[in-house]
């Protein structure tokens, strides 16, 4: 027999997104349950012990655990039900969650609305097809981060890092402080993918070289990593013969991107976008009515502050759904958002309601870095709004609140990032 729990809003995942969504919905009067697979709340923040969190949301600089603890302390004042050590194994379109808990067995949670807040996981060596042997000593950067910062293990002594994302840069510094030697960080792109601040404070401060347009072309070692070969790549990321360099090391870290974790969403029949996150409408509602998504399970964020703000919206919208609050008439056909020039993806992917003018928040990422840009919002072949952006890079998400007027909006909304030619000429 499985235990049946009845609630208004069930939230899958107790990381930064789940915490903020739970607080917001609970504040409005909903009965809320959080289902978390780890032994404590906080998610990935608990292993991100570095500072730099909260500058936007709290206007002060916190470490990851401190940022999480602020929300966990607020949660103690509420009657939100928390299921720890509970692994969700199924979600149905009629919003029944099945979870396993080592003490209580199988739990069935019946909810009026569900919020997906499962976060993301790291891309691995397999995902990018790095050739070579398969010895011990190969980790994703986040795994190494958990080993050092939470479990008290050192993954190795002489380390090569592939990928200049923020986790890779932060782990380079962390390894040096714990006594390891970081030989090099290699990045396949012609620019550093992490924040400048992390390049300066994690690599430059410790004399760790960053090789741009380079990648690992071989890993050697039978039991344990013995060496890696790093080669220069051309503009198509193809290794250039004759540029190989050998690095003797015992450990390789991969910091090569994150993927939203949506296996459970697929079980409910939710449609996913090219980002691997669910496609949502302007209420952050997936293709299954009453199931909402926020945080890194929806789109990979660069700042946790944006995760919190997005999750608060999901909490508010899920509460409104659970109380049958009207959104006005639904459009017969949704208005689709289309990534145009130099835009990788857009959230939301569709607008479902537009009877009167309203403000909709769009978040998206550029495909490549640029300077002095104009961001155009286009519908019916007319630019209905535009914004200037001085500096854009793929690692920084762009967020704009845009007023949509039903008279100006056709079947689609396209977003383009174009060069501001006038401004570029002036500077030249």
């Amino acid at each position: 027999m499985s235990e049946i729990i009845d609630t208004d809003i069930a939230i899958i995942g107790g990381g930064p997104a789940g915490l903020a969504a739970a607080l917001n919905a609970s504040k409005r009067g909903a009965r809320v349950a959080i289902i978390e697979r780890d032994f404590e709340l906080g998610g990935i923040l608990q292993q991100c012990i570095h500072n730099g969190f909260g500058l936007t949301y709290f206007k002060e600089e916190l470490t990851g655990p401190e940022y999480a603890q602020r929300f966990m302390d607020l949660l103690k004042e509420t009657n939100v039900q928390i299921f720890l050590d509970s692994m969700v194994i199924d979600l149905s379109a009629d919003k029944i969650i099945t979870a396993m808990n080592p003490e209580r067995g199988i739990l069935k949670i019946h909810a009026k609305a569900v919020i997906l807040a499962m976060g993301c996981r790291e891309r691995t060596r397999g995902a990018i097809n790095v050739p070579g042997m398969r010895p011990a000593g190969i980790y994703t950067a986040g795994t190494a981060q958990r080993l050092i910062n939470m479990e008290g293990y050192m993954p190795g002594k002489r380390v090569v890092i592939l990928g200049s994302g923020d986790i890779g840069l932060i782990m380079a510094r962390r390894l040096v402080l714990e006594g390891a030697k970081v030989l090099v960080v290699a990045e396949v792109l012609p620019y550093c993918s992490g924040l400048v601040r992390n390049f300066v404070q994690c690599l430059q401060d410790y004399d760790i070289p960053l090789y741009l347009s380079h990648t690992i072309t071989d890993i050697k070692g039978k039991e344990r990593v013995k060496s890696v070969i790093i080669s220069k790549v051309d503009e198509n990321w193809m290794p250039i013969k004759g540029t190989e360099k050998v690095y003797e090391c015992d450990t390789v870290l991969f910091s090569v991107g994150l993927i939203p974790e949506n296996e459970i969403s697929l079980k409910a029949g939710i449609k996913l976008d090219i980002t691997n996150g669910p496609t949502v409408n302007e209420y952050l509602e997936t293709t299954v009515p009453g199931i909402f998504a926020c945080g890194n399970v929806l789109q990979v964020h660069d700042l946790v502050d944006w995760v919190t703000l997005e999750a608060e919206r999901a909490g508010e919208n899920a509460y409104a759904y659970s109380t049958n609050t009207s959104r006005g008439g639904k459009l017969l056909e949704p208005i689709l958002t289309v990534p145009g020039e130099n835009v990788g993806y857009i959230v939301p992917q569709r607008i479902d309601y537009l009877q009167d003018s309203k403000i909709v928040q769009f978040s998206f990422r550029p495909k490549s870095p640029d300077k002095n840009c104009i961001i155009e919002f286009v519908s019916n072949e007319k630019v209905f709004d535009k914004r200037k952006a001085k500096h854009i890079i793929p690692s920084e998400m762009l967020i704009y609140k845009i007023k949509l007027n039903p008279e100006e909006i056709g079947e689609k909304i396209t977003i383009n990032i174009k060069k501001n030619l006038k401004k570029s000429k002036e500077e030249a």
Partner: protein
């Protein structure tokens, strides 16, 4: 594509990359004949300030972990209350490596009161419950 990292040669004016905004201005900071600190290459006033601070007294947060006895985890994340001089980071790490805590610990608890006589404490970045309640 050239390798981004270059070790400054002796006698060069070291280049400081401004981290205030994504523009990443490359700053040249030096002392002029009157002994005034000059910052060249900054796109804004905040960049000039940053350049002066990085030249005269660069500071960084100390962020690491220490051993903890009887905690639900074997290590506890700690940080300096405020940033400490950059060149003291490795000395600070040596001190911190010899310190351990005992659970339970509350976030903000002082772990080391006066780090390297700097008048700055090292504090716990999170609370940690005890594994076995006494």
């Amino acid at each position: 594509m050239e390798v981004e990292f270059k070790k400054p040669k002796q006698g060069d004016v070291p280049e400081i990359i401004c981290t205030i905004c994504p523009n990443s201005c490359k700053l040249q900071v030096f002392e002029d004949e009157q002994g005034e600190i000059q910052v060249e290459g900054a796109g804004c006033a905040r960049g000039v300030e940053y350049g002066k601070e990085e030249y005269l007294d660069p500071k960084r947060m100390l962020i690491t972990t220490i051993k903890i006895e009887n905690g639900v985890l074997p290590v506890l994340p700690v940080r300096s209350q405020v940033a400490i001089p950059k060149e003291k980071i490795f000395d600070a790490i040596k001190v911190v490596n010899h310190v351990s805590a005992k659970a339970p610990v509350q976030m903000g608890d002082v772990i080391i009161p006066n780090l390297l006589e700097l008048g700055i404490s090292v504090i716990a970045s999170r609370s940690m419950a005890a594994k076995n309640k006494e």
